[in-house]
């Protein structure tokens, strides 16, 4: 397996994702520079968090017009695995690889904290190590994570089991109090129809090591690793 972490100007979780892949999961990992088109033969692409191009237009909007994105889209359309985290999720909606859009948080403030998520689809290459309905804790850190999709789109998402993570309480209820940013239906992460592209606002790379006190995010990377090895 070979992983690639895309670097846009303003990406700032690129090194964090690289670190987890390379040093924690010991996967061959390379950076992919936004001005290039060559994917260097990777079979897993991470669009990391951060503020690509300062997020000065809509979040992820300028990044979705960079050179590397053309290759990423092609890669995804052929079934390649793509994970967009936070700003990466925003890029994925801007490129239309994923439906919907991410609006400003309901309270208009940046929020950094641990949140509880309920895993509602464990049949993706990213979530095979979770059990259905499992409650996990993963931190969020964003200003624009308020997932929006119209009703028709939402119904489609639900029908196709594309919702992967929802914000929930400690005991798993997906009521409004457990919704940190106002997302439709408490949505925190979704996959595309084929299931090979995952976008999520929470940061699994921030909880993939013992020393950081939480391993809940590790399983996403590990699931991808095992999946690509043909293990599961």
């Amino acid at each position: 397996m070979k992983a690639g972490v895309v670097v846009f100007p303003g990406s700032n979780c690129d090194h964090d994702c690289y670190h987890v892949l390379k040093h924690v999961l010991e996967v061959d990992t390379v950076f992919l520079w936004h001005k290039e088109r060559d994917l260097k033969g990777v079979d897993f692409i991470v669009l990391p968090g951060g503020f690509s191009y300062g997020d000065y237009l809509r979040c992820g909007a300028i990044a979705s017009h960079s050179e590397i994105i053309d290759s990423v889209v092609e890669f995804a359309e052929k079934g390649g695995l793509v994970l967009g985290i936070c700003n990466g999720f925003q890029v994925l909606t801007e490129t239309r690889l994923l439906p919907g859009a991410l609006l400003r948080n309901r309270d208009l403030k940046f929020i950094c904290k641990n949140v509880n998520l309920v895993v509602s689809n464990v049949n993706t290459p990213f979530t095979r190590f979770y059990t259905p309905g499992e409650i996990i804790k993963i931190p969020i850190a964003h200003m624009d994570g308020n997932y929006f999709i119209d009703e028709k789109g939402l119904n489609e998402l639900i029908e196709n089991e594309q919702v992967v993570f929802r914000y929930c309480s400690e005991t798993g209820e997906t009521f409004d109090d457990a919704n940190p940013n106002g997302s439709v239906d408490n949505i925190a992460g979704i996959v595309n129809k084929k299931g090979n592209v995952l976008g999520m606002m929470p940061h699994p790379e921030r909880c993939a090591e013992e020393i950081l006190g939480n391993m809940d995010g590790f399983h996403i990377f590990n699931s991808v690793k095992k999946y690509l090895k043909g293990g599961i």
Binding site: P9, N12, G49, K109, F110, H203
Partner: protein, 743 residues
């Protein structure tokens, strides 16, 4: 001088010099150094360089007294930031700096550019910023203006730091009426650098090119340094166009480009453009190296049409750097900055004549000796005198204080005090986890980050109790240092060195100068006793509005190291049925306490005694005990005293406690005294004996006070219950005091 004449600058006289902030004597000194009358560009440059903000003219002779040497020190004061050794080659580079006045004028941008400035100071030296903190002082939140300022300042710090990608891992917020019209915004940054990769502000090698990189120069903040060197008045309104806009995205690019550049051997020296922009960066580089520079100002990338040499030299546009490259490597340097989409231009060259010469379209428009202007800047030994209010405060007699029956309510009121209550509303707006190094997130005594290349961790704490400094600046100065050290030690780390930001009123007033001199003396004694030298710092005077000064506020940030980051401690109870030990002796000191202010509306008495010896022992014990994994958690006793410290330990994991005393003292003093050199530690039964042994070995006074149990906080004295509150009720108050006001 036809080019010079084309700008139609006025002839320089005393009046113009004055308008730019120079005193008559200073203008005379300038003429003497030059041997002639400066022209308009030159006088602008001189007045900025000699402003209080850039020249430290009122503080210099006193700052010299601070200890700056120590085993760990790699770079002391004098460069952009200080550097200490953490683990072999791995060094920490850090500094704190004020952005007070700009943050009052435009809270968001003022605070944001403050963060930008301090980050640049750190990465200019070759260090990648890995942690930021901020120390904030506002008026009280009963005032709409304060709410607006705090909202803007916090959003600005978040907006800049989050986008740049540095975790903001801690800080402090203090509220008092004296900051109503003069909030303090002190920003701190820490970076990691390898010892052999440190870069300094050097301009050496005749003929080497001087390269400008980063954002284009605009008319922002012209004469900002002068503004920071004056009292605030109604007139400051008119200076508002000075506000600078921060561009964190550009700063991020600048960081990545600079670090990429520094991997190679292309450059000799580098300096960020901070206060007084191109002026101070070029003069500093030339004077430090005993060289000279020629600058072709028409080559400087500008944002607006028609900018003049004067404006270009004095602009404080953000996100810019000046560097000296090795001749022949210009193209390599330019290539890297182009890769990162940054403006870059060769704007001059190094000479050896000791002058800064400025050119415009090939003609010299200014010509100034670098070293004399930097090093012979005016220095003042300003008169100082003990203010009268001090004696008035001392006449307070604690025993006459009205007794309060309902101490539960007192505790609630203290937890509800803005100074004690949770700062979650603030820190949850900061990305405190990016870079995945944050081992202890905000909410404990110190923040702790790991270093990926090492087993060691770095602990940080920012502290200063301005009320102590007001009633007794000398003790206050010492206590700021020891509290910061204690907080660092609570995590298990050894305090190593400090940086400081000295926020005071108008130094031309003898009473203010006295506060300054005393506070510095206190800092010095504490730094010597704890062997924690000062490696960098910043002075901010003139924090006054309409003649009223703020409390003297010497912010201290302590940096420490923990040998094995896996042994890090937090300050919340970890498990039920462990022992609660109170370490250190209570002297029942209530002067200048939060209790006095909150429950009796009084600021009076004296600050608690400074116990340097006991503090040192407590710190050594903590480092030793945590290294041996003997403790579950630890929290020092500070504002609000024992009861507040104990309550704070119960919140995170909702683990309650029962403790009892047997003391002949007023209950309120027992609960809320702020005597120093004390801490609460949590120890499992398994380790109790070993911990007691160790406490004895260090000669520490201690008492086993109770156990972790239940969902309440219960405190008895002589068998009587004096506190009995439910954790959730207490926590709710603690968590909502600030949040409630901000919504």
């Amino acid at each position: 001088m036809s080019v010079y004449n084309s700008f139609n600058y006025p002839d320089v006289d005393e009046k113009i010099a004055k308008e730019m902030g120079l005193k008559t004597e200073e203008y005379e000194l300038a003429k003497k150094i030059l041997g002639r009358n400066p022209n308009y560009i030159e006088i602008g440059i001189i007045s900025s360089m000699w402003s209080e903000h850039c020249s430290y003219k009122s503080s210099k002779i006193h700052l010299k007294k601070l200890p700056t040497q120590g085993k760990c020190v790699v770079q002391g004061p004098g460069e952009n930031a200080g550097i200490i050794e953490i683990d072999g080659d791995i060094c920490a580079c850090f500094k704190v700096e004020s952005h007070n006045h700009p943050s009052y004028i435009e809270p968001y941008q003022g605070a944001a550019t403050g963060v930008g400035g301090i980050l640049r100071d750190v990465f200019t030296m070759g260090a990648r910023p890995v942690a930021a903190m901020n120390s904030l002082r506002f008026g009280t939140l009963d005032n709409d203006e304060t709410i607006k300022i705090m909202d803007g300042v916090v959003a600005g710090i978040a907006g800049y730091g989050n986008c740049f990608g540095v975790p903001t891992v801690g800080g402090e917020v203090f509220f008092d009426e004296c900051y109503q019209k003069n909030p303090l915004v002190n920003a701190f940054a820490l970076g990691i650098v390898k010892k052999d990769k440190i870069f300094l502000a050097k301009a050496e090698g005749v003929g080497n090119p001087i390269i400008y990189v980063g954002a284009k120069t605009g008319r922002d903040g012209i004469h900002g340094a002068t503004m920071a060197s004056e009292e605030f008045s109604a007139d400051s309104e008119s200076k508002r166009p000075n506000v600078q806009i921060g561009d964190p995205f550009k700063e991020k690019l600048l960081l990545e480009a600079c670090l990429e550049l520094m991997k190679n051997e292309y450059i000799i020296g580098i300096q960020d453009m901070g206060a007084a922009g191109l002026t101070s960066s070029s003069f500093e580089m030339a004077s430090k190296s005993g060289s000279g520079v020629k600058l072709y100002l028409d080559k400087v990338p500008v944002r607006e049409k028609g900018m003049t040499p004067y404006e270009i030299m004095l602009s404080e546009s953000q996100e810019r750097m000046l560097m000296v490259a090795k001749k022949g490597f210009e193209e390599k340097v330019i290539e890297i900055f182009k890769k990162w989409d940054l403006d870059v231009a060769i704007i001059g060259e190094v000479t050896d004549d000791g002058f800064v010469r400025l050119f415009w379209n090939g003609e010299e428009v200014a010509f100034l000796p670098a070293d004399p202007l930097s090093n012979n800047a005016p220095v003042y030994d300003r008169p100082y005198k003990k203010p009268e209010y001090i004696e008035d405060l001392r006449s307070f007699s604690p025993l006459k204080l009205k007794k309060i029956d309902d101490l539960n309510t007192c505790l609630f009121n203290l937890l509800n005090s803005q100074n004690i209550a949770s700062k979650r509303w603030v820190f949850e707006q900061y990305d405190y986890m990016v870079r995945t190094n944050t081992v202890v997130i905000p909410g404990s005594d110190a923040a702790v980050i790991r270093i990926k290349e090492s087993r060691k961790g770095i602990a940080l704490s920012s502290d200063c109790n301005p009320r102590y400094c007001y009633v007794n600046p000398k003790k206050g100065g010492s206590l700021a240092v020891v509290e910061a050290a204690r907080n660092v030690a609570m995590s298990g780390a050894k305090p190593l060195a400090i940086t400081n930001c000295l926020n005071f009123g108008n130094p031309e007033k003898p009473e203010i100068m006295w506060q300054f001199v005393e506070a510095l003396e206190g800092m010095k004694e504490a730094c010597l006793a704890l062997d924690t030298p000062v490696v960098s710092g910043n002075v901010s005077f003139y924090n006054e509005t309409e003649g009223k000064g703020v409390y003297p506020t010497p912010t201290i940030v302590m940096v420490g190291a923990i040998d094995d980051v896996k042994n890090t401690l937090k300050s919340s109870f970890k498990s039920f049925n462990s022992h609660i030990i109170v370490v250190g002796k209570d002297k029942y000191e209530i002067g200048a306490s939060e209790y006095l202010k909150v429950c009796h509306n009084l600021v009076a008495g004296d600050a608690p005694e400074v116990e340097l010896d006991a503090e040192k022992k407590l710190i050594d014990f903590m480092v030793d005990a945590s290294g041996r994994k003997l403790l579950n958690s630890a929290h020092d006793i500070s504002e609000g005293g024992f009861a507040v410290a104990l309550a704070e330990m119960t919140f995170e994991n909702e683990i309650g406690c029962e403790v009892s005393f047997n003391e002949d003292v007023r209950d309120d003093f027992l609960l809320f005294s702020e005597s120093q050199a004390r801490a609460i530690i949590e120890v499992s039964s398994l380790n109790l004996e070993k911990v007691e042994e160790l406490l004895k070995k260090y000669g520490l006074f201690y008492m086993i006070a109770g156990k972790t149990v239940g969902n309440f906080i219960s405190i008895r004295n002589k068998g009587r219950k004096i506190i009995d509150v439910n954790i959730l009720a207490a926590k709710y108050i603690y968590e909502n005091a600030i949040k409630g006001k901000m919504q």
